[in-house]
Each structure stands twice: as C-alpha cells, then as structure tokens.
Symmetry: C2
Subunit: 201 residues, 2 copies
Amino acid sequence: MSAPIDFYFDFSSPYGYLMAEKIDALAAQYGRQVKWHPILLGVIFQATGSRPPADGTSSKAAYMLRDFARSARHLGLPYNPPSRFPLPTQNAARAYYWLEGEDCALARRFALAVYRAFFVDDLDISAPETVFEIAGQIGVDRDKLAAAVQSPEIKARLKDECAAALQAGVFGSPHVIIDGEPFFGADRLPQIERWLATGGF
Amino acid sequence: MSAPIDFYFDFSSPYGYLMAEKIDALAAQYGRQVKWHPILLGVIFQATGSRPPADGTSSKAAYMLRDFARSARHLGLPYNPPSRFPLPTQNAARAYYWLEGEDCALARRFALAVYRAFFVDDLDISAPETVFEIAGQIGVDRDKLAAAVQSPEIKARLKDECAAALQAGVFGSPHVIIDGEPFFGADRLPQIERWLATGGF
C-alpha cells in the first residue's frame, strides 16, 4: 500500500480551501489516502522570509482577490470573499489535531466545515467560540474541545507540525507532497491528477 | 471583431516561455489574435515592490526550478534549465519591438526563437551578438537590427511598454489580459481556454 499523500494548508488560505474540497476525492480515484496537516502560514513565512501572496502591490493584491473567486468558479465551488482576511488560525488548527486523535473522519469533516464557515459563510474562524460552535454542529463535545485546544500537548503538536512542514520544504498553502514530489497551489490539481494516474511524468 | 488579447512577458521568464508556446494557437481556436508585449521584470518588480518568484527561501527556489521543468513536461514542451538565470533581456525586447514594426509575423518567430535559445539551447540571450545571431537565422538583416536596438525610438518604446504594462496592472510574467480580465501565470491556461470558449465564467 502506498504512503499517504501529505496535504499542508492554513485555514486562512483561499487556495487551501479549494484544494481541501478536491484532494480527498481525487486521491481516492487512484486508491490513495491523504494526511491533512493544518499549519500556520505566519510561522512558515517568518521562517522562510516569504510573504503572503496577496501582500505587496495593490495590483497584485487586487488580482489575487479576483483570482480566488474565479478559481473557485472554475472548480465549481462556492466562494464569498471573507470580510476579515487573513485571520489567525491556531485555534482551528489545534482543534483539528485534537479531533484527529479522537476520530479521523470527524476531524476531516471539521476541517471542511471550518473552511466553508470562512470562505462561504464569512464567519470569524479566529474566534475560539466560532471554532467550538462549528465543531459542536458536527457532534463534537464542545467542553472537551475547549479544554483540549488549551492543553500543552496540542499546542506542542501544532508547533511540531509547522516545524515538520518547514523540514519537508513547505513554503506556502496549499502544498501537497506525493511520494516526495511537491506540488504548490490549487492550480497544480491537473498535474497532481496526472502524477497519480501515471506515477510521475 | 474582438480586440486582441494582450500577452505580457519577460524573455527570461520560464513560465513566459511556456505561455508563448501556447497562447497564439489557443487564441486562434477561438478566432482571437494576440498582441505580444515583451517587458522587463526588473522594471516591474522595482515599481511594484514584488520579487522574482524563484527568489527568497531556498525551499521555494528549489521548488520553482522543479516546477519549471515539470510544467514544461506537463505541456509537452522541451525545457533545459538555463545555466545563467535570470538574464537581462532589454536587447531581445528592443529587437522585438523594432521587428514588429517591420514584419509582425517575423517578430513573432523571433520571439519564439529567443525563448527556445534560452530555455532549450541554453544560449546567453542577454548578449547583443546572440540576439542578432538568432534574428539573422530567421532572415533578419543583422546590421539594421544592431542599429535599431540602439536607437532612441526603440529604447523609448520599451520604456513606454513597461509603463503601459504597469498601468494595465501587470506585476509578473506571463500576464494575459482578455477583454479586461487578467490571468497571471502559465498555470492559468485552462481558465484562459474556458474564458475564451464561454466569454467569461
């Protein structure tokens, strides 16, 4: 059996959202599993000296906002530009890692629910209460979750995941690694599909 | 008749090369013409505060080199990583604008020949002699060209094109504008095709 595909993303990344909606089904078509790794782009950018894609010049930032929406339409996904963007996502990421230890399928549903809350329903996913509310709606015990995201173990897990992502060469979101081959950006979906279909090209 | 599609690129841009090999045939499928605009990314980056994509962290730079080659394979195009990269391209760009005034089809052949000289044959396209040699091989009068690239009119033309590109919102290469809709990157070819086929989506 092949090793799982690694999918690194920040919950505040629009292209990460697009990839999150597509990668599991695409991988499944080729008999592959995906391991999700929420990370903090702030940590990645600080370590690598990179900048957010929509940062910098006004013409580039304006383009990115337009491209987020058009790329979502191209992939047939709903998208509403968040009124607060970008947002800190450590609460959502920590919640993910705790849930993953409890119930992997539930963690996956939670991650998609967080992305949709942010990029479709314009909720403030930086707020712990919002994260707990999203989790509660899919059956997670809110009190247990609230305690877990404050635990030293879960805080350490997110730090370790960011460090491991850097070690793996991750410099942005989404970043997908298939058997050592890195793909950066939701626009690499056609190349990812071809790689899975052919074993490399 | 529709206005021409605008295609902005730097002769030192690998993704610009990939777009250059594809855009004319794609546009022609939908009855559209393309106006080519060689520009200088150095001027664009200085004005916009952007940075070259392969600049910065070593993990991002290493990824880009890998992605250049893989993206070329994905598009079925030959690609050999240039040993000198990036290179200044004002001589090639000026030559293009002079040729365009003489013979538009010849200018197009020249542009593709310059890209292939750089990204397939690893020639130093920053050198005026190399540019003249490439032009000579497709039937251009080398002496006339050598004089033209030094003329104040052609130098001013390239400056004006860079200023106009900035005005049009260009911040990198390749940048394609179809009826006001901007597409940045060779990876936007599927969206460009869909836009041309549907008139917008």
